[in-house]
């Protein structure tokens, strides 16, 4: 048995439960949460390595063999995302230590972060559609709590919208599951794929697949992103960074999984729909990123643009494009976390949120300015940084398959990302400083260190992409050839 693949979910879950009881003991909470993050990272790297040796791993809970029981399946794609999630969370926790404040730490901040991570990792690992729903709900309930934590007026109002829209999308999810169970009679993803391949993906199944498209688009912010900028700019910096880095990625993962493994027979309908939605998302995100003067809003709209860009890879649906999308997913988790942290730090230092109210920050905080510069280049896809490789592969895939509309919009959106961030950079970092030496807020080391760690990671991924390549190409190969996944799940049972 491969009990190890349940660990990325179990470790955060147990840590969260233990931390609930250590509510008033801030020091212990911090030490335990860092130790647990390190353990999760280590375990996920071990599993990732093991997959390269032994192929896709699976764990049947309670010994119920698939397709009858619930199971966890770890392939390269899911484990890459689990590993990135764990690393990003660990670094964000370091930022939380110096920024989140006693009040939050006593109000179960750490437990809920870990419950969130448990939900996220569970969603990446599960091989059962209903279990995916449950893991989504674990993640969402924790995110509801985190978004309202602190209880400021704007948070409460934004979270009403956020919760309601997510309840609605969960309802769609249940509907989709009910219809699928009614027609196909199974919920195991590999088994679903086999049965749909047998009976053919008729109009009924295509309609069901579109229900799933709506559900996951709502979670990922693909076209249906209207809730995203408001709710991502309301909570404290760390929580916003956690959301921006992780939550939309789970929706994207689910889209990739469902539309490469289960509903891949009618690409003219489903993948065209995804392509059109991706184009509209990139356009809408670009407009939003240019329209606002509030840093948090600009940063949130940058999340939207990235969603469109990554799902362009799914719409193109060739192995090269999948590789690009996976590289870009990993890159985006890291750099979006960094971007949210930098934006939050700027707001913390100046007390202002509008870009025209800041000026000359690079004179007061040179390190922060240079970090922002690196982030900007990385998001724009300048070569030695991590955003480059993903863009190249998605571009190559688009040219090979002749999807020129996607190609043009995807690369134009890159220019808008660059422009929207340059606007922040020029307004806030350049120019005369307007901060007196007297009320110069010192930049805490605990805030700078995580940003530097993220910046090192984006440079390291950009330079050391060769090291990542075998994992990513294996992941893309599995996405392209669903029979590998099916084989691993349904083959003669160990």
């Amino acid at each position: 048995m491969n009990n190890i693949i349940a660990m990325p979910m179990i470790i955060p879950l147990l840590t969260g439960i233990i931390l609930v009881f250590l509510r008033h003991n801030t020091k212990t909470q911090r030490v335990l949460s860092i130790l647990s993050s390190i353990a999760t990272v280590a375990v996920s790297l071990v599993i990732l390595h093991q997959i390269q040796q032994e192929g896709i791993l699976r764990l049947d809970f309670g010994g119920w063999l698939p397709p009858y029981g619930i199971l966890f399946v770890a392939d390269s794609f899911s484990m890459l995302l689990v590993a990135t999630t764990s690393i990003v969370t660990g670094i964000l926790l370091i930022y939380a230590f110096s920024s989140i404040g006693q009040q939050f730490e006593h109000m179960f901040f750490y437990p809920f972060v870990f419950f969130l991570v448990a939900g996220v990792n569970g969603s990446f690992l599960t091989g059962d559609l209903f279990n995916l729903f449950v893991c989504f709900e674990v993640m969402l309930l924790s995110s509801y709590v985190l978004i309202t934590m602190g209880g400021r007026k704007v948070q409460l109002i934004e979270s009403i919208k956020y919760v309601t829209i997510n309840v609605l999308s969960s309802w769609f999810f249940l509907m989709g599951i009910a219809y699928l169970y009614g027609t196909i009679g199974t919920l195991n993803m590999a088994h679903l794929s086999v049965r749909i391949a047998e009976v053919g993906q008729g109009p009924l199944l295509t309609v069901i697949s579109l229900i799933f498209l709506i559900v996951f688009s709502l979670k990922a912010g693909l076209l249906l992103y209207f809730w995203l900028p408001g709710s991502y700019s309301a909570p404290p910096t760390v929580i916003a960074a956690l959301f921006g880095a992780l939550l939309t990625k789970v929706g994207m993962y689910a889209l990739f999984r469902v539309f490469t493994l289960i509903f891949y027979h009618e690409p003219i309908i489903t993948h065209t729909a995804i392509g059109v939605m991706a184009i509209l998302t990139m356009i809408g995100g670009s407009v939003g990123a240019l329209a606002y003067n509030d840093i948090r809003k600009i940063v949130s709209y940058n999340v939207v643009i990235a969603v469109g860009f990554i799902l362009a890879g799914l719409a193109i649906s060739t192995e090269v494009a999948f590789q690009g999308a996976i590289y870009y997913l990993i890159h985006d988790m890291i750099v979006k976390a960094l971007l949210f942290l930098l934006a939050g730090t700027m707001i913390y230092l100046t007390g202002k949120t509008k870009i025209e109210e800041m000026s000359g920050l690079i004179r007061n905080y040179p390190a922060l300015g240079w970090l922002f510069f690196i982030t900007m280049l990385s998001l724009a896809g300048i070569p030695p940084l991590s955003g480059f490789i993903g863009k190249v592969f998605i571009g190559q895939g688009a040219i090979e398959s002749g999807s020129f509309a996607l190609l043009i919009v995807a690369f134009a959106s890159g220019i808008f990302v660059l422009y929207s961030l340059l606007r922040i950079f020029l307004n806030c970092f350049w120019g005369e400083t307007i901060i007196n030496e007297d009320d110069d807020v010192p930049l805490k080391k605990g805030m700078l260190v995580p940003c530097i760690l993220f910046a090192i990671m984006t440079v390291a991924i950009g330079i050391g992409v060769e090291g990542l390549a075998p994992y990513v190409s294996d992941a893309a190969r599995t996405l392209m050839n669903p029979e590998i996944y099916i084989e691993a799940v349904l083959q003669g049972n160990r």
Partner: protein, 112 residues
């Protein structure tokens, strides 16, 4: 029986949508509760409604009830219970903080 249940589900969804579109926060929450019950009923219906047999499939069993939809619904009910409880607390806190439960008046707020 299945047709009747499906119509009932549609009816529940209709009520839920009406409630969701109203301006009163409590009505919206009740709407989400009704909506999730509609989904549960749909799950049950899609699993097939059979009368009087045990959820056991033996060698000589003539019919059996599919137990999986029940398991799914149980999980879904627990989740929707938790979410509804959370939403109610959220609505209460929002009312305390803003002095209104009218969604129209919650728009266009200024940051503190």
């Amino acid at each position: 029986m299945e047709t009747l249940m499906t119509i009932l589900v549609g009816f529940l969804v209709m009520i839920a949508v009406y409630l969701l579109l109203s301006r009163n926060l409590i009505r919206v929450i009740l709407g989400t509760a009704v909506l999730s019950h509609a989904a549960h009923l749909l799950l049950m219906t899609m699993g097939g409604l059979k009368k009087g047999s045990a959820p056991l499939l033996g060698e000589d069993a003539e019919s059996y009830t599919d137990a999986l939809p029940q398991a799914l619904i149980l999980t879904a009910i627990v989740i929707s219970f938790a979410v509804t409880a959370f939403l109610l607390v959220l609505a209460y806190r929002t009312y305390k903080k803003t002095g209104t439960d009218n969604l129209q008046e919650l728009r266009g707020f200024e940051d503190e």
